[in-house]
Symmetry: C2
Subunit: 223 residues, 2 copies
DNA sequence: GCAAAAGTGTTTGAGGTACACCCATGC
DNA sequence: GCATGGGTGTACCTCAAACACTTTTGC
């Protein structure tokens, strides 16, 4: 069932960079490609956009199909379209990224992924095509956007401690932060509310649990 | 000569928002569409990406073809791909923007543009399809990026006065700035060098002329 | 001499950075 | 009682904001 056009059309894909923090390190979700091209290489989850589907929805679907991960929030990074970026045909990809709590990830390789797992961004394997560049651009964008400490909240579960929040920020920014200044800044900003609950873990003083105060952006659906 | 594929392919276009400052107002370059769809409506210059051409080069070419404007620097805004954004077929567009000195623009409508001219961004005509949203996103991005006052330098010719620079910044940011603080900030930043020349215009003290100090980014070609 | 834009410093307040000790708990 | 991470306050410094007058020219 061929589809014909009067002039050549590129194919359009989406790729998704899922970032998370686990064991004090920033990690990214990669799949091992089960099919050519780049078969056996690690790559960002992604695939072709259906003809009646929005870009964001395609990104959401492909991520779910290949890795089992359901991303609540996807942000567009941009389009990558070097003519030679895929050996099969001209493929233009639109990259998205998401920041998710590690514990929320139920990763299972599926669809045309032979495997799927997290890699530390500081120790990435060889990557298919231009995915290394896409990841580099993602990291640089996420770091820029995290300067105000809001974005890293997406890496945290519903309830979290100040230390967890601080570690998330430190992992994203790649620098350590002063505990007292961090607390002051975050408290003053007023994005958080203290739940009143505490978490007892190990031989030390219990930590207060916080949650994000609801914002308008929290109720925006995937379109 | 039809081109056939095993599954449906969207078409991919590029659109370019050229911003400039003229007569103390921020303006954008629009074309009047000579052909369907949206025939007769005003729109961003743009068109289909050739199959062997990079996205940025396509943006550069389409801008030149339709308006005669040659943009030295194009920055990608992002991809817009709502399935219903074009009535003909599924079209995904990648938007670019450029900031150019008004005097450098030699606008002539050509190709499939019935007309081409600048509009104040504060008084836009009815626009084709989702171009209004693309422009809104462009403006918001350019304003964000102009907070440090570097980007508006692109709106200025080789030699310029402090007042011209300040007006450019004010037009982009949409707020007036204090002359003394502006001068202090810009001088301290060290992006400019004083040429030693002066410009006498009208019945008042002559203005010093400055030029941008060369940076690495200035030598990056369109790829 | 007067109109018009160019050019110039100081004061103040806000926010970011540096820095060290006590607290509550489990074992 | 001791090891472990949780929680707290102050001093300083930097940078941005507010603010008004003199200078140089053309007519």
């Amino acid at each position: 069932m061929p589809y014909t056009y009067d002039y050549p059309h590129p194919a359009v894909t989406v790729d998704v960079a899922v970032l998370t923090v686990e064991d004090g390190a920033l990690k990214i979700l990669l799949i091992r490609r089960a099919n050519p091209p780049f078969e056996g290489d690690w790559a960002l989850p992604g695939g072709f956009v259906d003809i009646d589907e929005s870009l964001k929805r395609a990104a959401w679907r492909e991520l779910a199909e290949e890795t089992g991960v359901h991303a609540g929030f996807l942000t567009q990074l941009g389009a990558f379209g070097r003519p030679d970026r895929d050996p099969r045909e001209r493929i233009i990809t639109v990259a998205y990224y998401a920041l998710l709590p590690a514990r929320q990830l139920r990763i299972r390789a599926d669809s045309d992924a032979a495997d799927a797992r997290l890699f530390e961004v500081a120790a990435l394997p060889a990557l298919a095509g231009d995915h290394g560049q896409i990841i580099a651009r993602t990291l640089s964008r996420v770091r820029e956007q995290s300067a105000d400490l809001v974005l890293p909240l997406r890496l945290l579960p519903d309830r979290f401690t100040m230390s967890e929040y601080q570690v998330a920020c430190e992992c994203v920014l790649g620098q350590s932060l002063d505990k007292r200044n961090f607390q002051k800044r975050v408290q003053a900003a007023g994005w958080l509310e203290c739940t009143g609950e505490q978490r007892r873990r190990g031989a030390h003083r219990p930590a207060r649990l916080y949650r994000r105060r609801e914002t308008a952006a929290d109720s925006a659906p995937i379109q």
